[in-house]
């Protein structure tokens, strides 16, 4: 069957099981849009290409499938770079199809030309420039394979206009074999045995879990393991939801804004079992002082992540789900058992620490505290909603005060920390799950970065809820300026912010507002019951800060628990 390049692209996507793509038309990809006009492949028109990339990313995080976004050449392609880098840093499987000027015109500074393969080379897992239409189908097959296997990541496919317009015989390859790409899934049995013995012998073990557990779908195995060895579990920002936070073994998030008791436990442990996490600087603080005296077992599918920042004693390369199963088998087969008395003592000590310094904030009857809004959302949704966040204080409070119970319920830009990610990601998640409640917890600064997507949610009737923690500042920036720059609020005050209620109504969505603590719950309940997109403007206390906080470059043992000026006794609470 002879098909045009445009038809090959659409047909290949359908063969890959893609149901929906996110995109924005443009000159060179018009032929593809012509094919989409009467194709079963669903297409969501966004209002900025960056949002197309974030939506594909949110779709991928929510479903585990490969997200797809389609944009044109030149400015269309450069507009997705932030989205591609976001997906790269968090290892999200997306395929980005960009149009390109015709092959004879490449390199000629043509109209709407950009060397997008060159520009995204450092932030894609791989990329292709398809020069001949006969290679188009196999390239897409390879792209999907690379994006979704091993350590997932974004793959960019650049298709020139003449390739889109030429014909070829369509053949979609069944198998794909890349001789230079062969990820390891099964762990080495010898290493696993070593790891099992180390876990049994440990007196105060901690399981440290990252996004890799969610990518692998290993939550069940993780729960079984934690219960089997009586070890507490802490997750990174990317791992939130991998372990149910209502379990007594859950320690919540660790690192720069982790709870005091979590960082204290991590600093006192003698064995860290790391699964699908990369010892990022937000987690370790000053690397030289991270978890002194602890042995480290590191399970990861990417060998390059092992011993990159922190010396690892027992590395195991493999897929989290497979390796955790193998580990559980090995543990059950071992004659030695963990010392239950020691474990119970360790867990008791952790309970004591939780009691001493829980995650807390000063309640108020007059002004809405942003943490209170997050808590109310958590109580009302009972962990059933899909929560996306922007970046900054709103993101950290969500990570601290929302109780996550299941994987793929928390979509947040961790690695790159992209403001403006949450709203379009919520679009992607809502498209994936039209029946579920999807909430973007945003700051007033972040929301304004991609607010044009209000048109998208109205066009497609996506009942996304946006809870704006409106403090009239770029919150996290203001916090750092307050704590470390003598309250010199340099360009962090947001003046000229629109009335969000009227803005929502201008787009045809619903706008609600809450200005007192009593209004929070009724407004939320009302928003959740309206089957339309709703923006909620929560007027929150502008001077709240995220605590605990590990100052940049400090050890995670040294956490700020409150503002030094206000509460001089509660300065740096170091672990002895």
């Amino acid at each position: 069957m002879r098909l045009s390049g445009a038809q090959i692209i659409v047909e290949s996507l359908l063969r890959e099981g893609v149901e929906v793509i996110f995109g924005f038309p443009g000159g060179v990809i018009l032929p593809i849009y012509d094919v989409l006009y009467d194709s079963p492949l669903k297409h969501i028109l966004v209002r900025h290409e960056q949002a197309a990339a974030h939506a594909a990313d949110g779709y991928a995080r929510a479903t585990g499938k490969v997200g797809v976004c389609l944009v044109t050449s030149g400015p269309g392609a450069t507009n997705v770079v932030t989205g591609v880098a976001t997906a790269y840093m968090d290892s999200i499987p997306v395929v980005i199809i960009t149009g390109q000027v015709p092959t004879p015109m490449i390199g000629n500074d043509s109209f709407q030309e950009a060397d997008i393969v060159g520009i995204t080379r450092p932030c894609t897992k791989h990329s292709y420039l398809v020069k001949e239409v006969k290679d188009l189908a196999s390239t897409l097959r390879e792209a999907f394979h690379i994006a979704s296997t091993g350590r997932p990541g974004p793959v960019l496919v650049d298709v020139p206009k003449d390739v889109i317009l030429s014909d070829a015989t369509f053949h979609y390859p069944e198998k794909v074999y890349i001789r230079s790409y062969n990820p390891t899934y099964n762990g080495h049995p010898g290493q696993i045995l070593k790891a099992a013995r180390a876990v049994v012998k440990a007196k105060r073990p901690i399981i440290y879990v990252g996004g890799g557990v969610i990518h692998a779908g290993a939550s069940e195995e993780l729960l079984r393991l934690a219960n089997l060895v009586h070890a507490p579990v802490t997750t990174t920002l990317m791992g939130l939801g991998a372990f149910p936070q209502d379990s007594p073994l859950s320690l919540g998030m660790l690192g720069m804004h982790g709870a005091w008791y979590t960082n204290t436990a991590v600093s006192s442990t003698d064995l860290i079992l790391a699964v699908g996490a990369r010892f990022d600087d937000r987690v370790t603080g000053k690397v030289e002082e991270f978890a002194p005296g602890a042995s480290i077992v590191h399970i990861d599918i990417d060998p390059a992540a092992i011993s990159k920042n922190v010396r690892v004693d027992i590395p195991v390369v493999g897929d989290a789900k497979k390796v955790l199963s193998q580990l559980i088998e090995a543990l059950e087969a071992l004659p030695e058992r963990p010392n239950l008395k020691e474990r119970r003592q360790w867990l008791k000590q952790i309970q004591e620490w939780k009691r001493m310094h829980p995650l807390t904030y000063e309640q108020s009857g007059r002004v809405i505290k942003p943490q209170f809004v997050v808590e109310e959302i958590s109580r009302l949704t009972k962990g059933d909603a899909i929560i996306t966040t922007e970046v900054g204080q709103s993101q950290m409070w969500t990570a601290q005060f929302y109780q996550f119970l299941r994987p793929r319920s928390f979509l947040s830009s961790g690695g790159l920390g992209t403001m403006g990610y949450g709203f379009p990601a919520a679009v992607g998640a809502q498209v994936a799950f039209p029946g579920r409640l999807v909430i973007d917890i945003a700051g007033d600064g972040s929301f304004q970065m991609n607010l044009q997507e209000l048109a998208t949610v109205v066009q497609y009737g996506l009942p996304v809820k946006v809870a704006i923690l409106n403090n009239r500042y770029l919150g996290m920036i203001r916090q750092w300026q307050e704590l470390f720059f003598g309250r010199r609020y340099s360009h962090s005050e947001l003046v000229g912010t629109p009335d969000f209620v009227r803005l929502a109504e201008a787009y045809g969505a619903v706008g609600l507002r809450a200005t007192t603590p009593e209004e929070v719950r009724p407004v939320l309940k009302k928003a959740f019951s309206i089957p339309k997109p709703v923006i909620i403007d929560f007027r929150v206390d502008p001077e709240e800060c995220v605590f605990p906080m590990v100052p940049a470059g400090a050890s995670i043992k040294d956490m700020l628990l409150g503002k030094p000026a206000k509460e001089p006794r509660r300065l740096l609470r170091s672990v002895k």
Partner: protein, 181 residues
């Protein structure tokens, strides 16, 4: 410490860019780089010399392995290997010293590839120390221009290359990235 790394890559456009981009993006300094086809035309060999301590070079090798187009990464440092580079030198050869310049070329088994009344262009191959010595001895005569290739290197003894890519990736990973086993 200096490491000589030999990489087998898919012979596709953009691969060189990816590999060098990897180095510059992470702040690793490439001392020399050369690339060319192997006996299997779809595979090229890149030889890179990089300066760094063991931990950094370990990371470099792991990151190289991650690249989709990289088939195999071989750290030749510490193993027995043959290393060569080629240099073309245009050196002053005024009447009166021409014979001496030719004698130096002879000692180093260099060839004369160009002659003018005032200069010779000499071609010399050898390992780094030989080529450096050759240059040093020519300096007093006045060197006009130098064009020097990067190093190429190949392991001694058993043949590494065409057979290698048929080995399963798992074995290669175990050998190359140096886990503490």
């Amino acid at each position: 410490m200096r490491h000589t790394i030999s990489i087998l890559v898919e012979n596709r456009f953009g691969v060189l860019s990816r590999v060098s981009g990897l180095f510059s993006g992470r702040g690793f300094n490439i001392e020399s780089l050369s690339v060319g086809e192997t006996q299997e035309p779809s595979i090229s060999r890149m030889t890179i010399v990089v300066q760094g301590d063991d931990l950094i070079v370990e990371q470099i090798k792991k990151q190289l392995n991650k690249l989709i187009d990289v088939i195999k990464v071989i750290d030749l440092t510490g193993e027995e290997f043959v290393e060569r580079e080629l240099i073309l030198v245009k050196v002053n050869a005024e009447p009166g010293v021409r014979a001496e310049v030719l004698r130096i070329a002879d000692i180093f088994r260099a060839k004369v590839v160009d002659v003018t009344p005032k200069s010779y262009t000499l071609e010399c191959t050898g390992d780094e120390s030989k080529v450096n010595a050759f240059l040093e001895l020519l300096k007093p005569y006045g060197i006009q221009e130098v064009a020097r290739t990067g190093k190429v290197a190949i392991a001694r003894g058993r043949k590494v290359g065409a057979k290698a890519e048929k080995e399963p990736m798992k074995k290669l990973t175990g050998k190359v990235v140096g886990f503490r086993e």
